[in-house]
């Protein structure tokens, strides 16, 4: 019986769509030990047996040139040791780019392991004018080859049948291809195969291709990028606001609040325990923004105020990702990004950072040099607010009109640019050049898309909610023990003098170390002026990352660089907030 199936193939060949077609709902994403390269595993049923399916990071070659490719090769090595031969590789091939993809296929065959080729994107070969003789390809390579179109599900059943064929023979004598070639002559050999099996006819460019080329052309691309970003934020706002107004708030106000009032009564309406669990009652009622108990504000902030925006954000981001827009954005902004000391690809960590800084910081691993990663991560920690914080800031300042929000996010944008240019000037070295494949635009497969959004949401709830609850708990403890009052007296000259904030805001600044959304929430009961709200929001974004991001930064960079990064944060915060205090 087959134990493990590895899905291997070049990046952008629809590997993860095949994966989600083969496996059920139970999928686990984890980091390869000792790295932050992620891979996904799931379970598939073959002849009433569970078989593990692993979605290996995309690779062009078995001679690794990057971290992800190293991991791919290691996973292959571990799956096929001498003792473990009852495994199989499904090599996903982009049928519209057969020549380039065969390089990996030949390297896999040369390992003398069971390989099944899935020629994916088969439907696209028709309108790209490519004709492949699958029978002939099978004869030459001596491995099973199956045409698939994972997005529509065509050919998946036949692919599974091919796996079952291997499954029956796996213990007796699975046929392993003895196809051989000389590594030096590899491309020649591939060329010969291509001449035998593939015919390319002339054809016209499709509509999506034309749009694809237009969006990497500076004249068409820049307006398109601005339009895409504008629509993105409008859609996020629309979905987020709708969910809050029609789902989140009604549930909390109409169902949860009466229940909590009863609990409040049972606890005697006051006292330390009551205040930690339910919080302070406002005119005898629970105010989810101001009460600040674990079961009131502690649940309301992550689930009703933040989650709708996080969901909307990941829905739109995943859509852009699967459609193939992000690499084009990276190309367009490459020039500007080089001025900030990173290359265009860094736009992806920044975009992810808008969702949550933790995955943002982790995704900087795709960048080649430590210098680049340091700049990108520091810039993100300082100037890119996460969706949780954005949601709270929008809720708090949005009431006073769009101008306040414009000042907050405009300031952060300027800080991002200026600080990037400065770091690029001061730090030795320069960003490496951009070099990457730009996949064609493809209509996303909704099943795989929703699965991805779901996984990101689950991840958010698991990582963020405990911190929020702990944050609310800590707020109450610090107030009860009068620690905030004590701290307030010490830092008063800075907080009131430079930042122009009341001493009560110190509590929010302390909790901001832990969780930004809770910290912004703490500003609500203080009834600050618009100016103070703007400054507090900017300070809370810039002065320090939240605890989870901080932990990642230490792990990624070590204490010394983290201290450097922290120093940059504190100095720029004081400077920027001080300036705002003078100007506004």
């Amino acid at each position: 019986m087959i134990k493990t199936i590895l899905l291997m193939g070049n990046p952008n060949v629809g590997k993860s769509v095949v994966f989600s077609r083969l496996t059920g709902v139970k999928v686990i994403t984890s980091n390869y030990p000792g790295t932050t390269v992620e891979f996904t595993r799931g379970i598939m049923h073959i002849d009433h047996e569970d078989v593990e399916v692993i979605d290996v990071p995309g690779t062009y070659t078995l001679e690794p040139t990057s971290k992800a490719e190293e991991v791919a090769v290691k996973m292959l090595d571990e799956t096929f040791t001498k003792e473990k031969y009852e495994n199989v590789v499904i090599n996903i091939i982009d049928a519209t780019n057969l020549e380039r993809n065969l390089s990996l296929t030949l390297q896999l065959i040369k390992r003398r392991i069971p390989v099944i080729a899935a020629l994916n994107l088969w439907d696209e070969t028709k309108h790209t004018g490519v004709k492949i003789d699958i029978v002939k390809l099978e004869q030459i390579l001596k491995i099973p080859c199956a045409p698939t179109c994972a997005v529509t599900g065509e050919g998946i059943k036949q692919l599974i049948d091919r796996v079952k064929d291997v499954n029956i023979y796996v213990n007796i004598n699975v046929k392993i291809s003895d196809f051989d070639y000389d590594e030096k002559e590899k491309w020649h050999c591939i060329g010969d195969i291509i001449t035998e099996v593939q015919k390319v006819t002339h054809r016209h460019h499709t509509f999506l291709e034309k749009v694809g080329d237009l969006s990497v052309n500076p004249i068409g691309g820049i307006p398109i990028a601005l339009g895409v970003l504008f629509i993105t934020f409008q859609v996020i706002r629309f979905i987020g606001e709708w969910l809050i107004g029609n789902v989140g708030e009604p549930i909390f106000e109409n169902l949860w609040a009466p229940l909590m009032l009863k609990v409040s009564g049972l606890l005697g309406s006051k006292g330390v325990v009551h205040d930690i669990i339910i919080g302070k009652l406002v005119e005898g009622e629970i105010d989810f923004g101001e009460s600040f108990g674990i079961l009131t504000t502690g649940l309301f902030v992550p689930f009703a105020a933040v989650l709708p925006y996080v969901f909307a954000f990941y829905l739109v981001l995943s859509l852009l990702e699967d459609f193939g827009y992000l690499p084009r954005l990276a190309v367009l902004v490459d020039n500007v990004m080089h001025k900030l000391g990173v290359h265009g690809f860094a736009i992806i960590p920044f975009m992810l950072g808008l969702g949550c800084n933790v995955p943002g910081a982790l995704s900087t691993r795709v960048m080649e040099t430590r210098r680049e990663r340091f700049i990108a991560t520091t810039l993100m920690a300082i100037a890119v607010p996460c969706m949780a914080q954005i949601a709270m800031v929008v809720g708090l300042i949005g009431k006073h009109g769009a101008k306040g929000l414009g000042i907050v996010f405009g300031t952060l944008f300027i800080v991002w640019i200026v600080l990037g240019i400065l770091m690029n000037k001061v730090m030795k070295g320069h960003a490496p050049e951009l070099f990457m494949e730009i996949p064609p635009y493809r209509l996303p497969y909704i099943g795989a898309l929703l699965k991805k959004v779901w996984m990101r949401i689950v991840w958010f709830i698991r990582e963020a909610v405990p911190w929020v609850l702990f944050g609310v708990f800590l707020v109450n403890m610090l107030y009860t023990l009068r620690i905030i009052e004590f701290l307030g007296k010490i830092v008063q000259p800075i907080v009131s003098g430079i930042l122009g904030l009341p001493v009560e805001a110190v509590g929010a600044l302390v909790i901001g170390f832990l969780r930004k959304d809770v910290a912004v929430g703490m500003l609500a009961p203080l009834h600050l002026t618009l100016k103070q709200l703007i400054i507090a929001s900017v300070v809370l974004t810039m002065y320090f990352p939240c605890a989870a991001t901080f932990a990642v930064l230490i792990k990624e960079f070590g204490i010394k660089d983290m201290l450097k990064s922290t120093l940059i944060m504190i100095c720029s915060t004081l400077l920027v907030a001080g300036l705002l205090n003078l100007i506004l």
Partner: protein, 79 residues
């Protein structure tokens, strides 16, 4: 008439053949993985402003190449 120019000097939408790669083993290998080798026919799709990356199409693949590396890819163009 054939002319040898660098990828950056090509016009958008012009076709040409790769004739020389001025770079080390690493550069040659990574280009190979994307299907760009000496002898391949390519089309320049576009060029970003002010020394930005060049987009090249080969077969059904499109690749973005930074300006510095693009300068070291020599193309033969029919004029």
């Amino acid at each position: 008439m054939e002319e040898r120019i660098s990828l950056t000097e090509m016009n958008a939408n012009e076709f040409g053949k790769v004739v020389e790669l001025i770079g080390g083993h690493g550069m040659v290998k990574s280009l190979e993985n994307m299907g760009i080798r000496i002898g391949t026919e390519i089309r320049k799709v576009s060029q970003q402003l002010m020394g930005g990356p060049v987009i090249v199409s080969q077969g059904n693949t499109r690749v973005a190449i930074g300006y510095g590396m693009a300068k070291r890819i020599i193309i033969e163009v029919k004029k």
